[in-house]
């Protein structure tokens, strides 16, 4: 029930925004994240944007785990 879907904000329509994922567009309420912009990546749950996604974090996380892998492998010899 707490499932949320990553989507992209395409445009704004009055108090709502149109978000898309895999070619599907839905009207979403964004009252919880009022500072959205077009092309922002968001998490949508039950027709509401619950948070803006921070894509820079994804790159950082990947780099950290790449380092973790290298360190673990070198320890294993």
């Amino acid at each position: 029930m707490c499932l949320a879907v990553p989507m992209t904000i395409e445009r704004f329509e009055g108090n709502y925004a149109v978000a898309s994922a895999k070619g599907v567009e839905v009207l979403v309420n964004y009252a919880m994240t009022p500072d959205l912009k077009i092309k922002d990546k968001v998490l949508v749950h039950a027709g509401f944007v619950i948070e803006k996604l921070d894509e820079d974090q994804a790159k950082e996380i990947e780099a950290t785990w790449e380092e973790y892998y290298k360190a673990t492998e070198s320890q294993a010899g």
Binding site: C2, T33, L43, G47, L53, I61, E62, W65, Y69, T72
Partner: protein, 354 residues
């Protein structure tokens, strides 16, 4: 995360040797399913046991809630609007699906706003939305009440069974019934609550990590939790930084508490937990179905042999319930844990192989 790195990390997890056995609990129902579906559970090293927690909102909803909803709908000839997961959940004597077959107006909606639209379009009928969910869902439900008030919609109300997850986790730790060494904490709930909301688990020397829902999130979450357990690091880490902030979504929290206030709530299998529920504030009582439609529901009856309660406390796994896969199957479920798509019994039934 790229597939190559995910594969490499999967190998690290699979090859890992533990210094002792560990029990970790995944709190979230979506994690319960994803651990199976992604195959990450198959990567667990020997000695690591995953215990399913009370993180499926449908599963932890007590029979008394559905008994009340059905009684209200019958006595006031009201329309029930609900998320689809609730339809087949058995109440003490019936279910919404059975009532619908007998003529009750039960409508499945995707969003609480759809229930409000239903009320606008059917002004001669009372529409009651069954508000079941955790922190992820509560702001949407609060916003729907605010919208109903703003538009003066008089035939809409909400029957609240909204729950807050940290008090349930603390109640489980305090019960001491099950040995839990650490926690995989819910991703989307934490989007609203923030990482800091889970710091209390360290009072009990239990580390935890908030995880996302992709295979790489689960793999890295388990690796990091094992690292903490092995090194004795007692902290709560954020493994889902892309969506979860330290203090959560403050605007969403503000919206929740503009409409709701904390109240005791009954959790299936655990019982009444103080401050673990959300009741509608007095100033919005016109939209509170419990107050708007007073009824005396029938005495609560539990289903003979059903062990959903023990399961939700982590005392047993689904195959240990004598009804699992025999009398209780998804098409004819006796307990809610087999009905909900996020229920542990449903997940085991679909994905578990002996």
């Amino acid at each position: 995360m790229n597939r190559e790195l995910t594969k490499k990390l999967a190998t690290i997890l699979k090859k890992r040797k533990l210094s002792k056995n560990f029990n970790i609990m995944e709190v979230c129902g979506t994690h319960t399913v994803e651990f199976f579906k992604s195959g990450v559970k198959e990567l667990f090293p020997e000695g690591l046991r995953l215990i399913d927690g009370p993180g499926c909102p449908v599963c932890v909803t007590a029979n008394s809630f559905l008994d009340r909803a059905i009684t209200i709908a019958r006595e006031y000839n009201a329309t029930i609007a609900t998320f689809g997961d609730m339809l087949k959940v058995p109440s003490s004597y019936s279910s919404l699906a059975k009532e619908k077959a007998k003529g009750m107006d039960v409508q499945i909606v995707y969003s609480p706003l759809d229930a409000l639209t239903l009320a606008k379009e059917n002004s001669s009928r009372e529409v009651i939305f069954l508000s079941v969910g955790f922190e992820t869902t509560a702001p949407s439900e609060a916003l729907t009440i605010l919208e109903a008030k703003k538009n003066n919609i008089k035939n809409f109300s909400l029957l609240s069974c909204n729950k807050l997850t940290p008090p349930a986790v603390e109640a489980l730790i305090n019960s001491g019934e099950v040995k839990i060494d650490g926690f995989i904490l819910p991703g989307h709930v934490s989007t609203i609550t923030g990482r800091a909301a889970w710091d209390f688990i360290t009072k009990y020397n239990k580390p935890g990590i908030i995880s996302g829902f992709e295979a790489h999130d689960l793999i890295t979450g388990v690796i990091e939790l094992l690292d903490m357990l092995e090194s004795g690091e007692n902290s709560v880490k954020n493994g889902y930084k892309i969506a979860v902030k330290e203090e959560g979504n403050k605007k969403a929290q503000e919206i929740i508490f503009s409409v709701f206030e904390k109240a005791p709530s009954e959790w299936r299998g655990i019982g009444m937990i103080p401050d673990s529920g959300l009741a509608i504030k007095e100033e919005f009582s016109f939209f509170d179905a419990e107050k708007k439609f007073p009824v005396t529901p029938p005495p609560v009856k539990e289903h003979a042999g059903c062990r959903c309660g023990d399961l939700l406390r982590g005392v047993i796994t689904p195959p240990e319930c004598p009804l699992f896969g025999k009398a209780c199957v998804p098409e004819n479920a006796i307990g809610p844990c087999m009905v909900s798509s996020e229920g542990p019994c449903s997940a085991y039934y679909k994905y578990w192989r002996k």
